[in-house]
Symmetry: C2
Subunit: 367 residues, 2 copies
């Protein structure tokens, strides 16, 4: 990517020389019209144009003046993934709103290539960072090393760092309670990748349940199991299926696996709407009706959840507001407290229903 002008472009000094004035005067011609006579200004601007000088180099200028005017969002996943995940996009939407209000641009920093990510973060030209989801710890510590303002989102807190969290545990509990209140006892859970280390597909065993490294996963599963325990169910008997990615296809595969258990679960709690949508598809493929044969619940309340067939019962988290708040905390627009917790809301639609007589006729696991 070489500039249209391969020959290096002229500087303030060149213009000054050509115009027979000092650099400062040229600088003023561009930035402080009141500091020189109109005639001189016009002449200088003309000469600059003639020389192919396109205004003060922003980097040099900002080095001197300080503020950069952009904030960085660090994604755990690849950039393409970020742009294909609706939750991420809604989050960015919110961040964008706050940026706009603050007159700030938005730098999206990919961190796929572990090696490159280090230097990308190290050299990012930003006034602060938002760390979204789960970049590797290396990258996160690199971010902290920059010693710029940071807001983390959906990550377990680090002392001294402003964090935005959703009350995932309460949200998960509420939707599990909803299902349990409807009489369901044979629950099953679908989750995306639980730990930064190791990729796993299939049932989650005890060891892996104990080694969850992502805060969101830990909290949501915790919430589900809290509700189960409160209802007298043994958490360890509730099957959890993990898939490496948060995708429709992954949710489908997990649901196919869970729904072929005997006895079949009567309610599936998917940790994300994306996976829940895949689970809906799996049920359809197996000839099961939702919610008559199996209730399916999601989490997030993506726009697609309301439009699914049937519309998805889920837990709403205000994704746009989450992004907006994170950015506002970074800008200092919003009062700084260590931890910002965002509440969720249970959204009951039609993918869940009370346990039917037919369903309850089947043997209860563990009986």
């Amino acid at each position: 990517m070489t500039g249209p002008d391969a020959k290096k472009s002229p500087t303030l000094r060149d213009v000054a020389r050509a115009a027979g004035v000092s650099r400062t005067t040229v600088s003023n011609a561009f930035n402080r019209p009141d500091q020189l006579s109109g005639a001189a200004r016009d002449r200088i601007l003309d000469i600059a144009r003639g020389l192919g000088y396109h205004g003060p180099n922003p980097m040099a200028r900002k080095l001197r003046t300080g503020r950069i005017g952009a904030i960085g969002v660090v994604f755990g996943d690849t950039l393409p993934y970020a742009f294909s995940d609706h939750a991420a996009i809604l989050f960015l939407h919110g961040v964008g709103r706050a940026c706009e209000a603050a007159g700030c641009s938005l730098l999206i920093i990919p961190t796929t290539d572990q090696g490159a990510a280090q230097t990308t973060v190290r050299e990012a030209l930003v006034d602060g960072f938002i760390v979204y989801t789960t970049p590797s710890e290396d990258v996160v510590s690199q971010v902290f090393d920059r010693n710029l303002p940071v807001v983390t989102v959906d990550r377990s807190g680090v002392p001294g760092v402003t964090a935005v969290r959703v009350d995932d545990r309460a949200g998960a509990r509420s939707i599990a309670e909803h299902v349990i209140d409807h009489g369901h006892r044979r629950l099953a859970i679908i989750v995306p990748r639980l730990s930064a280390m190791g990729e796993h597909s299939g049932f989650v065993d005890r060891a892996r349940r104990a080694a969850i490294s992502y805060a969101v996963c830990a909290d949501r599963i915790g919430g589900y199991l809290d509700a189960a325990a409160a209802a007298g169910l043994d958490p360890l008997t509730i099957p959890i299926d993990e898939r490496p990615d948060n995708h429709e296809d992954a949710g489908r595969a997990a649901a196919l696996n869970l729904l072929s258990l005997d006895p079949q679960p009567t309610a599936i709690l998917a940790m994300t709407d994306r996976m829940a949508l895949g689970a809906l598809r799996a049920a359809r493929e197996m000839g099961l009706r939702v919610p008559e044969d199996v209730s399916i619940a999601g989490f997030d309340d993506l726009p697609a959840a309301a439009e699914a067939a049937p519309p998805l019962t889920t837990v709403r988290q205000p994704l746009v507001e989450k992004g907006e708040q994170a950015a506002e905390l970074l800008f200092g627009t919003r009062r700084h407290t260590g931890l910002h917790i965002i509440e969720t809301e249970l959204v009951v639609r039609r993918s869940t229903s009370p346990l039917s007589a037919q369903q309850s006729a089947m043997p209860l696991a563990g009986d």
Copy 2:
């Protein structure tokens, strides 16, 4: 947004002084480990840490070294809008893919506030720009003024500027032909804002048809009308309804307007899928069946088009690839030619069908 360290942070010079070495040596300790003894390096790094020095200031460093490592995408709309428009997101997805490959970050530059946009563009720390959709001409010329590499997307070409265009005209013609081949003669067209100047809602009169400032609009409408003319229809008799925004709601309003014409159109060509989806809703609300009572076609082939009820006949443009190509052209990965034209593909689904006997029984406009 003040840094955690309000007292200004130490510089290379401070570290050098504390360590009793020169600035260059400290610089080398960070960037060129082979240029000094391991012992000295460790000692310097230790001292730096002790002083709260967090690595070389990226701005100063880049001022010296040149390359910034980010490209800017300039949006015509507000940032939040960009993140709510699927076409834009898919485009960004593609850009992100290319950025990732090039080890580059992505700066998203909002241009809502006309005044601020000028300086935002002027000061954006990027190595090049992608101009997407239709920022105001002021902003575009500001971008050109930076004299950095630029690729424009979906805009009519400017001499010397690499442009990515979709063959909108051919795509529009193909879908109009598809509908005409199915026997439809009473066509109607739905379009978003046609011109940067003036906001208009409702039928587009002759004067406004002649004053379209957005290249995409001009081409798509041109394609529709080409097909109509080729089939012996008078383009001027085909009603065009314009709405200021490319939104479902806008499409709905336009369709409601068009479908209350007498005689009623039998086929609606919406210039975007978003508007087509709104038109589907309008038809449903009016108790019209699609496609039995009215055929509706879109443009873009967003993911939602395939999932609509009924699935939308549309023109597919490869949005992700468009973004990727634009970025690759900017990086120089792809061979530079002035104009890159991307082909479209007609995707026939179920929202269009042959004219029914009942439909053709109605009087033909102009007979």
